[in-house]
């Protein structure tokens, strides 16, 4: 394809690239700013000297959040919810998605309708809340894990993924005397890394970022780290020791910054590696369920 370099196309190229640079800046700058704050001294922050480079470089904020027991505990809670939640979720999703991907199975259509309907009509906040308390799950860690174990969207994604695996391998395995459990475990799952990675990433991100369910169902020792962050942002709870009343607000800012960086970094570090999977995943998921 030949393109002619006229003045208007050159101008167009410039506009396009400027637009992209603007996108990059607007995505990254908030984090750079927060990162700079987290490394700056309280005096520099209060004198409004921090822009995009840390002023009065120090690591006090990071040191202090890790000595703060509530933060440490909340971080640990979030790790537990994320790992356990993702495992339970993947387990249940795979168990359901595999039989649902077999369109020849009797009742398949009915089960699919059950799933799809739950995407468009839900119990709503109050009935869910009352159910969880009726089941005595309130104030237990299960309240964070079980009620959200299957996201119907992720389930459909997984079903579509399984459908895309050729049936022939399976037929051959059945002839070789493997049963369906064996096929799922030994043949389908090893072929499903992309699907598992996509759904796993979505699920892990959900559990990692969840705070609202912690707020309504849990007691403070069980709070996830996002709820901890929310509480220090809106001033419900205080961070660190009450060293000097004057310093408190500004120490607070660099500490907030440090908490933001420490809670966000794991996700930012992981998602680019899974990009090739989830981009495909979005496509598969967008195809009719």
């Amino acid at each position: 394809m030949k393109t002619y370099k006229t003045r208007s196309t050159v101008l167009f190229d410039i506009i396009v690239n400027l637009f992209m640079i603007f996108t990059i800046i607007s995505c990254l700058v908030p984090f750079i700013y927060i990162f700079a704050l987290s490394l700056s001294s309280p005096e520099a922050i209060i004198n409004n000297e921090v822009f995009f480079l840390p002023k009065g470089l120090n690591f006090e904020a990071y040191k202090s959040i890790f000595t703060y027991p509530n933060f440490f505990n909340a971080y640990k809670n979030t790790l537990i919810y994320t790992i356990l939640g993702t495992l339970i979720s993947l387990f249940l999703i795979v168990l359901f998605a595999y039989p649902l991907s077999k369109t020849y199975l009797k009742g398949n259509k009915v089960f699919m309708k059950i799933v799809v309907f739950s995407m468009f009509f839900t119990g709503g906040l109050i009935p869910n809340y009352l159910l969880i308390s009726y089941l005595h799950l309130t104030n237990t860690r299960w309240a964070m894990l079980i009620p959200f174990a299957i996201n119907p969207f992720n389930l459909i994604l997984m079903i579509n993924f399984f459908k895309s695996i050729s049936n022939e391998i399976e037929e051959a395995a059945l002839i070789d005397g493997l049963n369906y459990f064996g096929i799922l475990w030994k043949i389908i799952l090893p072929l499903s890394q992309a699907g598992l990675a996509t759904v796993g990433l979505y699920t892990a991100v959900f559990f990692w970022n969840d705070w609202f369910n912690g707020l309504i169902y849990l007691k403070s020792s069980q709070f996830p780290v996002m709820l901890f962050l929310r509480n220090i942002v809106n001033g419900t709870s205080m961070v660190g020791d009450a060293a000097g009343a004057v310093d408190k607000a500004t120490i607070g800012i660099s500490i907030k910054g440090a908490v933001i960086i420490v809670t966000t970094l794991p996700i930012i570090a992981i998602y680019p590696f899974l990009q090739k999977y989830f981009v495909k995943g979005v496509m598969i998921g967008s195809v009719k369920g």
Binding site: C27, S118, L125, I126, P127, I175
Partner: protein, 302 residues
Amino acid sequence: MKKLKKANKHQYWQLYAMMVLPLLYFIIFKYVPMFGNILAFRRYRPGMGPFGTEWVGLRYFKLFFKDAAFWTAFKNTLILSLLNLIINFPIPIIFALFLNEVRNRYFKKFVQTISYMPRFISTVVVIAIVSELLSPSTGILNIIRGKMGLDAIYYMNEPDYFRTIYVLLDTWQYTGWTAIIYLASITSISPDMYEAATIDGANRIQQIFYVTIPTILPTIMVMLILNIGRLLSLGFEKILLLYTPTNSQVSDILDTLVYRTGLANQNYSYATAIGLFTGIIGIILVTSSNSLSKKLTGQSIY
């Protein structure tokens, strides 16, 4: 192959056995709460189970229809949703069209990766960052205002700024992500089309208007209809985090009203009635937009 399937019919029980646990999950955690919506028509008594004790008919619906707070929330939900649709529906399309015009493959990939990032960030972190950036004393925006000799504005508390902040945050978080769909549909356009357009003397800008946009129009239509179907489902958590008593006149939406009246004030039946009302409007929007989509584009979501 047919024969084989028959031969294995006696193994099908294994497939059904796999479904038992997940199906139980769906019944308990999806369908029991759906059924729990009957609480909207029944009086709740503490300790007497989640489904209420006696029928009261449409009592709670009549109550909230007379409640000014409900109508404010209803109005706020509609305004915010429409504003969000008008602004954040076209932006990802424009972004995808522009991204497709980036010549350098590595730069393109880099922009894409960066643009997905905000979607993975927790709403709590997003709000924490924004309230830092907009803080009246140390926020960068107000520092700049201060340098220009202007008074600091407490953006997060001002009702006038609430809608702008909400919509812009959605732009920030979801533009790159939503663009994936459009980009996929753009990359599926055959290069022959562009070649033909070039021979006809179309420059790159004309190609966008005469080749790219017409080809991805079906995708745009489906996405538009999907978005209309989801009109009432705003980012509840984000709004809850942005909510302050001073901006409540614009920030109180149906979902936050349910949260406040239900969980904070424990008017369970009343809140369930509002929730059910919202849910039913939602399902009407989804089904009607879906059948509209089927008629217009032949595509549907279920």
